[in-house]
Symmetry: C2
Subunit: 329 residues, 2 copies
DNA sequence: CTGAAAGCGCTAACAT
DNA sequence: ATGTTAGCGCTTTCAG
């Protein structure tokens, strides 16, 4: 491996001069700079940013810790982060945290001296970010927020998302509307649920049907059976993927969507809009969310004392073919 | 930030002892180890792996360089890599290379001293991997191979994929079959195309319809017009996403799938199987490909002189509803 | 303008 | 069993 020492030897100058020349410091003559750069180029020199980090105490690296639950929107956000991070000269180190304790993954990131962390917390819980606040490591939350405390956050307004979905269903005549969520205190789930409840209340609809499946397909099936007994006419789902599952299960029971039950998903996954019976869904700008999270963390690193900023996008209801007005006889 | 020096001071021992104790070296007494570990814990010590890297010349980091072209299969592979890498104690640093020169991204990875690189080359060209071979940095190619040279590679057998798709269409009566690819010397594109051509030749079908759109929606439309003029009855597409596009365009022209034209995609994206008119497609095990790529790069790092290994999965034809036999009157 | 020296936090070889 | 020393590759004072 060629180092500045090697270059220094060839160029007949000191290590310090090489370092300064390569970094375009002002106190090196143009001639020397040119000469040294040429030699570096010829020798195929690639700087060792590890050594640089050790001195500068900055790694120009952002850690991304998030769960991947098979939702294709994830990649859009990652791409958004990647693209804007690269503009700032930062690299991205990723780990998918699954459903376990995120603390270990966060510690790993800290050990690797990332300058900041973008985190999608699994638990709506201060504990998740405790180390980060203790160690004063800049971080921003993405997509999922935490109720207690006040943190930098980029995501969409899921409360509003829950509202517009419910509102629409009521407006087209539905009264027995269910919400299919996850359970277990997930921020977005809570928010959508709140929006759902509040909207029903506004219209004076007492009866709520709140189902939780905790990512368990079997429980989802049971949930469906339960609401079918109750003769509900519409379901709002926490995600598009869940919505698809619900539709399939309903089809298996011979229940037609949207004729008998209307379904609204959440995410607006591209590919789901294409086929027949395109999904009615709530849309959020995933790429943009990732992008803004990256911009915010870089800002935060440059200026750690900035007070928490929230960038919240309004989701949009995309009405397609899985919802239908109810004939109120 | 608390360092081993701080711990040493509190514990009343030397830095070396702390280092050894924390790393469970055998020449430290159990008592001291226990004491030091306790202090480290209490002080909230997190090791600085940057410093460690500088000494050990290993970062336990793998670089992943790949294009993201909106194909949701990408995330599956990333997840596969992530999961098995974590088992080995490696972290993953990702960058999406778009259509530009991948060399810069690779250099960035080298500068960051990754122990190895998993690369999906954009160009079927030795130049892409030149630095890596020069600098003797372990790498494995994933999904896309390079014709010249012989490299470690994990992916599926796209030649075979092209064959089974074509073979199936011929068996159900099609004779005028088109292949819709990308062009511009992409390995997988070439392979599928080869499989397509060879199979047609085997059946003595002279006429080939090879279209290239280079990811350009407009050119895709023109391609479709062209093959419609030729009255082809089936199209094999380079990807599921492209297949969807083709189907939509065909629908716009009032051409019915599969009644008038059969379509085969490539990728077997989950969500596309769910709706009515599920896509006939060629399936590849993306998660597994990522996983094996990770295992292979770690192997390669431990033993750089291993000769190139190829792990090639046989894709599978998934027959669904976008293909139909032809009535040969 | 250029160079010598110190040091980032850690490990490893060699003493003790 | 523990400590001393040197050094990884780089940047950064401070002198010259």
């Amino acid at each position: 491996m060629v180092t500045i020492k090697d270059i220094a030897k060839i160029a007949g100058v000191s290590k310090a001069t090489v370092s300064k020349a390569l970094n375009n410091k002002s106190d090196i003559s143009k001639k020397t700079k040119k000469k040294i750069k040429k030699i570096a180029e010829e020798m195929g020199y690639i700087p060792n940013s590890i050594a640089k980090c050790l001195v500068e105490k900055k790694t120009y690296t952002i850690g991304l810790v998030l769960p991947y639950l098979g939702n294709p929107t994830t990649i859009e956000r990652i791409k958004g982060i990647n693209d804007s991070l690269f503009n700032y000269g930062f690299a991205l180190i990723i780990c998918f945290s699954e459903k376990q304790n995120q603390q270990n993954y966060i510690k790993e990131m800290i050990s690797r001296k990332v300058d900041g962390i973008i985190l999608t917390p699994i638990m709506n819980n201060l504990k998740e970010v405790e180390i980060l606040t203790n160690k004063k490591i800049p971080f921003v939350l993405m997509s999922e927020n935490i109720d207690e405390g006040s943190f930098d956050f980029v995501g969409d307004d899921d409360f509003y998302g829950g509202k517009i979905a419910t509102d629409y269903l009521i407006k087209i005549g539905h009264k027995k509307i269910a919400y299919f969520g996850i359970g277990g205190n997930i921020y977005s789930d809570n928010q959508i649920k709140k929006g759902y409840i509040e909207t029903l209340n506004e219209y004076g609809i007492e009866k709520k049907y709140i189902m939780e499946n905790n990512f368990d397909k079997q429980r989802l099936k049971e949930n469906i059976k339960e609401v079918m007994k109750e003769k509900i006419t519409a379901i709002i789902c926490w995600s598009d993927i869940m919505a698809i599952d619900v539709i399939n299960n309903l089809n298996d029971y011979g229940v037609k969507v949207p004729e008998e039950i209307s379904i609204i998903g959440y995410d607006n996954i591209d590919f789901l809009s294409i086929f027949h019976i395109p999904l009615t869904t709530v849309s959020q700008p995933n790429y943009e969310i990732g992008k803004q999270a990256a911009i915010l963390i870089v800002e935060k690193i440059k200026n750690p004392d900035l007070k928490p900023k929230k960038i919240i996008f309004k989701p949009e209801l995309i009405i397609r073919k899985t919802t239908k007005e109810v004939n109120n006889v």
